[in-house]
Every structure is written in structure tokens, then in C-alpha cells.
Symmetry: C2
């Protein structure tokens, strides 16, 4: 009987602050990093499970310590039984009565559980010879709902309602999968818009984004209103009227500031305003959304768990749901969030960028299209052209679209050489 | 010029799971623990600053790693400048752009910042020769609001509104301080009510609580309704009709369960129902509060930050606010929460128990009475008779009241011998 025999962890940090890639109103100098986990087995099949938490530098060591705290739960487990019931594994990890106190269900401990869960999915997908999106899409509605913990969700989404959503989506699965394989999934790009870039670089990158086939770009805003107006005007001039332009304030504002600022920018035909204020503040987002309508409010990359997303949907506090691959407790919790979004009829446009977030999150969006929402309408995955070269199966983005990965796994495996070269001393 | 020269950290764990002290519906086997921090200086005055995060066992090592991640911010600082502007220190730590990503403002990293901030307050209070509650109460309204970060609060509480609350409370400060010193602050006890205790122990501890002068007790509920009814009936019989009995579900229920369960218990004249569901779920608490009225809903010990408390108050989702000494980012954030509660006219009944939470949180409640709300009406600090012997200045609770500490400091210093004996191997 094969078992999980060891966890290996790595504190991997890329010195991105040197070039101000990734700079925004709240994060002026990120060093894009990964608290990285490998799950090793004695199956002798050569497969390892890889997962990680994206961080932006300091504290990545604490995130690694949280990964190590999961050893007692994982090492020694029967491999087939574990991979065969990842819903049960999720519940065991998230509801560990002592670890739970450290959140509960939020922050470093919750994200560590997410990396472990994703590493197990990576391992399962490799062993089954499928990319994760295809593995998930091949599961029955019953198998999918068994992955989800409905605790705290039933006032908005019951297991039976989730089953109905998934059963309704069975029709057309094969056609959508074929369409995905031939046409890909739409992307938008944040590459031009970092606050640390000067106007010349902004204009050049906007031109390149249009030339590369993107139909939406995103600019960071929120540090200085006059600067934002100048940069939006420049971007709109360069891109023309047919490219959608979203703005992202990275939690910079209070409610009144947000409303005033967004109204000052509304002449630029904003595709959405992202993270206007604290990611915990459901009621503030609802107030802002009502005041700036019809401009959509987007958030989610810092939403700690499915309970937050549930409330954002109940309160009509967002109309673009931006799930993130490593913020919540992994694949299972993101499936819960996709089901919530489908129940409320809200579009999902995943957050990506960082380290490996594009590689990881595309699987969730593609699974959603094939097996949950069945829709591509106004949906896009964020794209940033950073650090893909460090991954064994980097994303294939061209013509403004993510092309579906065909390699087995969850997309989360970094090159051994990159891990070694960028391990933090 | 004196400086902070080192942080020392300790992973302290007490084996409380052996006796089921502290057992409830979500935490069946806690090992009460402290991720413990000492701030050392070269002032040569013999004073150290002590702070900690309470946890319940596994993962305490990760919490300690988070304390160590603050070394770069604290070691080398000018001592007088640091202690003289703890509002600025709070902002620097909480808004560190890289560490912030790990929450933001929640979970392990946020609690670590709380321990550091509290350790600095402990050091300042020792150097000024005052217990913390008295030090805080001696500050001017302007000094107090400078400790508070109003970011994300201004839709509910502005700096000017906070100033008005504090200025209005100036009248009567001296009388209230004198009354506190002579009469103490009301307490209630959770000692009888842990789920792991049998009926005989429950009855005996209820009798003792009444004999000890407590006018309110609290029972853990939520695992089995028939058991809860039997235990409540027993407690009511033993205590008589004049003792208030609160119940605590420790996040066990979804909305519909909570409403059904509380209605089944309402014949027992409940003082409040505590933590009916996820501590993140403002909207669920609001729905439950409306459905079970007039039974008050209490929560807060797991509320991650002031933004959560703000929303609970805005949504009328709680009517008993249970702040916790080590869940949020220390003294400063708890001052913000006290000001929010005063603005909304909601009573504060702090969570305590655990390791050192009684010792720490009494300072906040007493400061609130003297300088913020000015009220004792229906207010009580939780009391549990665990582990006080490990603290240098243990609480003085008798006749059902907390008597005001007179020793300098924040109450957060553990005996050296306890730290050594219970350091986790």
C-alpha cells in the first residue's frame, strides 16, 4: 500500500521589487514569493504533488512554517484512500480543532491548508494522467458536491441546489470542452498598469496589449487622483474606444473616498472598479456598488474564505467575483465559491499574476466553464507576464486567450532549478 | 539613547486536554497555549515588555514564527520614540506592505502584531509605574485618538466623532476610577459550563459559582440538543431564577439550525446566545439576531479585526460585543473597537479565559469604563479559573468581580519558571 512519506517545503522569493513589477497603491515594493510544498510518496511512480501559497516577500518563512504544521495530518496516510476522498481530507484539515483557532478559516493557516489540498489534487491529476480542469470536469455532480463543505453556506446554497446546478450543466459538457480546447478561455492583462511604471512604459505596454489581442486591460489606481486621470486618458488614447479598461484600487479607500474617486473617473468608461476598500467589508462594498452603479464592483483576491464570498453575493456587494488560487483553502473551497457564484448568477473573473497564479487558476475557470456555469459571457482570467518561465507547464496565452493546458497536473510545479536558485537565504 | 535590542519568543503549551477544561462544541480537546514574546532593551532599568497570542495547541509554533518575523521592525528602535508614539508603530506594523499580504489584517500575522503592540504597552506601563488601564485612562482624548487607525472606519466612526465620545467621558473620570478601585468590575463565569464535564461536576460548579458571588454563568451548547436541555434545566435548578445563564455554541450552527436550537432553549431565560455561527458571517448573525429577539446575540472573540466589528454593529448583528485581548492587533485596535461600541451604544463584555486573557483584557474593560463608555450597565468580563498561577500579576476576582490591578504593566507577564516548565519540546 502506497503512502505519503514526506512533505518538503521551500521558501522561494523572486526579487521583483527591483523593477517595480507588481507595484500598486497598497503594495509599493513586492518581492513575489512562494511558500512551496512538495508531497512525496513511496508509490514508486515518479509522481509528486506540488502546491504553494503566493506571498509578496517578508513573512514567506512564516507561511512555510504553516505548511510544515500539516505534516502530522498528511505524512503516513494511505495514498489511494487520501486521493480518493479529498473532500474528507479538506474537512479534516480545515476543521482540525487546534489549527482552526489560528484563523479560523483565514490567513496563514488557511492558505497553508489550501497549498496542501492543491498539492494533493496535483498529485491525483498526474496519477490519472489529466490536467486538473479536465479531471474535475469528468467528475459526476455527486462526486463534486462531496468535495464541498456546506457548513455556513446553507442559508445561500444547499447541497441539493448545488447538485441541481451541476446536473443542469451536464448537457453540453462535451461541446464546451471541445470549444475550450480549440478556442481557449478569454484573458485580460494587467501588465501595462502597475503604478511604478512611467507614462512612456504605460503607453508602450498598452500598445503591446492591444497588438497581442487582449480586449481588456487593467490599471492600478488610488494613490493620486490627478495621476490616475492622466494615466487613464493616456491608456484610453492608446487603446482606443473598443478596449475595456478596468481599474484596481487595491483596498486604498474608505467608502466616501471610493465613491468620489470612482465618479471622477467614470468618464473613462470603466470596465470595473476593483478592491475599492477593505476586502473584509461586505457592507462598504455594497454601499459603493450602489453609489457607482452601473460601474461593476470587483473583488475577491483577498477574500479569506467561502463565508465572505457568500455574504458579498447576498449583499450584492460585487458583480465580478475574483477568486484566487492560493488565498482560500485550495481547490475544494474554490469549487464551493464557483457554485455560489453560479447560484447567484454572478460572473467569475479570477485573480492571477503573482507567482504561478495564472498557471493554477486557469484550471478552476475552465472547470467552471465546462461543468458549473457553462458560460464564458463577460468572463476573463487575469494575465500578467511575470515569472511563467519558472513553471514546468507554463500557461499558453496568445491572441488574448488562455489555451487549455493538456499536461497532467494542477499547473503548480516549479522547475527544480528555479526552486534552488531563488530559495531565500 | 536606549534601544530595543532583542525579541525573545517561547512556545508555551499547557496540557489542558487531559482534563477537558476548555472543551466545547468546536474545540473538543484544546491544549491552552501561548506564543509568547519578550521585548528586551538596553535601558538598564530592568523592565521588559511581555505579550502573547493565546492559541489552543497545534500551530503555536507557527504563531511563534510570526512573532519572530517582526524582529526587523522592532529591534534597533529608539525606545522613547517608540513608546511615545505607539499609534505610529501600530500603523507601521499593520500596514507593512509585504506582511499585510498574509492577512490582510487577520489570522496569524495580525495576532502576532497584536502581541508585539501589547508587549510595547506593557513595557511603557511598567516604565511609567502604572497598570495599563490607568495609563490609558490618563491619556487625553487627542492622545487616545492618535492611537487609532481610522482607515476603513470612517463610514461608521470618524476621528472627530471619537474625540467627542472621549471628551464627553472626561466628566466623571475620577469618580469612576475611585469606584472601580473600591468596588471592582463585574464578572461572569464559564467555569461550570464546559461540554466535557458530567452533570455532577456541572451542578457542583454551578453551586460554587453562586456561592462565589457570580450573578451570571455560561454554558457551552451546540453538540446535542437533548443534552443541552438537560444541562440547562440542571443549571437553572441549581442556580435559581435570579442568576443569568448565557449559552455559547462556539460557531457550531448554520442560520436555520441556530434559530431552531435557540428557540428550543428559550424557556430557560437565556442571558445571551454566543457565537451561533461563523464569526465572519455578519449577515447570518443579523438574521439570527432578528429571529431570536429579544434574546441577545453575542460574538467577537474570533472577529479578526475592527472592520468586522464595524459591520456587526452597522448590521445590528450583535448586541453584546466580546472583544478579545489577543485576536486583533493589540491594545490600539481594541481601543478602536471600544470607540465603535460606544458610538453604537452597544455593551462590551470581553471574552476571557484561555491563557492570560483575563489578566490582559481586564485593562481594556476598565479603561472603557473610566474613559470611553463610562458605563457598567449589563457589562461583565468573562472569568474562568484556569492557569492564573502562571502570571506574575494574576487577576484578583472575588465576590463575582474583577478588582482593579494596581501593579504596573499590562498583566501579560508570565513567571519565568512557568515559561521554562511548559516550553513545548
Amino acid at each position: 500500500m502506497a503512502r505519503i512519506v514526506a512533505l518538503q517545503t521551500h521558501d522561494v522569493r523572486f526579487p521583483t521589487s527591483r523593477t517595480l513589477d507588481g507595484s500598486d497603491a497598497m503594495n509599493p515594493d513586492p518581492d513575489y514569493s512562494a511558500a512551496y510544498l512538495r508531497v512525496l510518496t513511496d508509490a514508486g511512480d515518479g509522481f509528486e504533488g506540488h502546491g504553494f501559497v503566493f506571498t509578496i516577500g517578508r513573512g514567506n518563512d512564516v507561511q512555510v512554517a504553516a505548511l510544515r504544521a500539516l505534516e502530522g495530518h498528511l505524512v503516513g496516510r494511505d495514498l489511494d484512500a487520501t486521493l480518493g476522498d479529498l473532500g474528507d481530507v479538506w474537512r479534516e484539515l480545515v476543521h482540525d480543532s487546534q489549527l482552526r483557532w489560528l484563523g479560523p478559516e483565514k490567513g496563514i493557516m488557511h492558505m497553508a491548508i489550501g497549498a496542501a489540498v492543491t498539492a494533493l489534487w496535483d498529485l491525483r491529476a498526474k496519477r490519472e494522467g489529466k490536467p486538473l480542469w479536465q479531471l474535475l470536469s469528468s467528475l459526476s455532480p455527486e462526486e463534486i458536491v462531496n468535495l464541498v463543505d456546506f457548513r455556513y453556506l446553507t442559508d445561500a446554497l444547499t447541497r441539493d441546489e448545488a447538485l441541481t446546478i451541476l446536473r443542469d450543466a451536464r448537457a453540453g459538457r462535451a461541446e464546451r470542452e471541445a470549444r475550450l480546447l480549440s478556442e481557449g478561455y478569454p484573458a485580460y492583462t494587467t501588465t501595462p498598469g502597475w503604478l511604478g511604471y512611467d507614462d512612456e512604459k504605460l503607453a508602450r505596454l498598452c500598445r503591446e496589449a492591444v497588438a497581442d489581442g487582449f480586449s481588456q486591460i487593467k490599471l492600478k489606481v488610488g494613490a493620486d487622483l490627478d495621476d490616475d486621470i492622466r494615466r487613464l486618458r493616456l491608456a484610453r488614447e492608446v487603446c482606443g474606444p473598443d478596449i475595456r479598461i478596468a481599474v484596481d484600487a487595491n483596498q486604498r479607500w474608505d467608502v466616501a473616498d471610493a465613491i468620489r474617486w470612482v465618479r471622477a473617473l467614470q468618464g473613462f468608461d470603466l470596465a470595473w472598479v476593483e478592491e475599492p476598500t477593505s476586502p473584509d467589508d461586505v457592507l462598504a462594498h455594497a454601499a459603493i456598488a450602489e453609489a457607482v452603479a452601473p460601474i461593476p464592483v470587483a473583488t475577491g483576491e483577498h477574500a479569506a474564505n467561502r463565508v465572505l464570498f457568500k455574504q458579498f453575493l447576498q449583499a450584492k456587494a460585487l458583480s465580478v467575483l475574483q477568486l484566487d488560487a492560493t488565498r482560500v483553502a485550495g481547490i475544494n473551497e474554490n469549487i464551493a465559491i464557483l457554485l455560489l457564484a453560479a447560484k447567484f448568477g454572478v460572473r467569475v473573473c479570477p485573480h492571477a499574476g503573482g507567482v504561478g497564479l495564472c498557471e493554477a487558476v486557469q484550471h478552476l475557470a475552465m472547470f467552471d466553464y465546462v461543468a458549473v456555469s457553462g458560460s464564458l459571457e463577460n468572463r476573463m482570467i487575469e494575465y500578467v507576464d511575470h515569472l511563467h518561465e519558472h513553471f514546468v507547464t507554463p500557461v499558453d496565452v496568445h491572441n488574448g486567450r488562455y489555451y487549455a493546458p493538456k499536461a497532467p497536473g494542477a499547473g503548480t510545479q516549479m522547475h527544480e532549478t528555479s526552486i534552488v536558485e531563488y530559495t531565500h537565504a
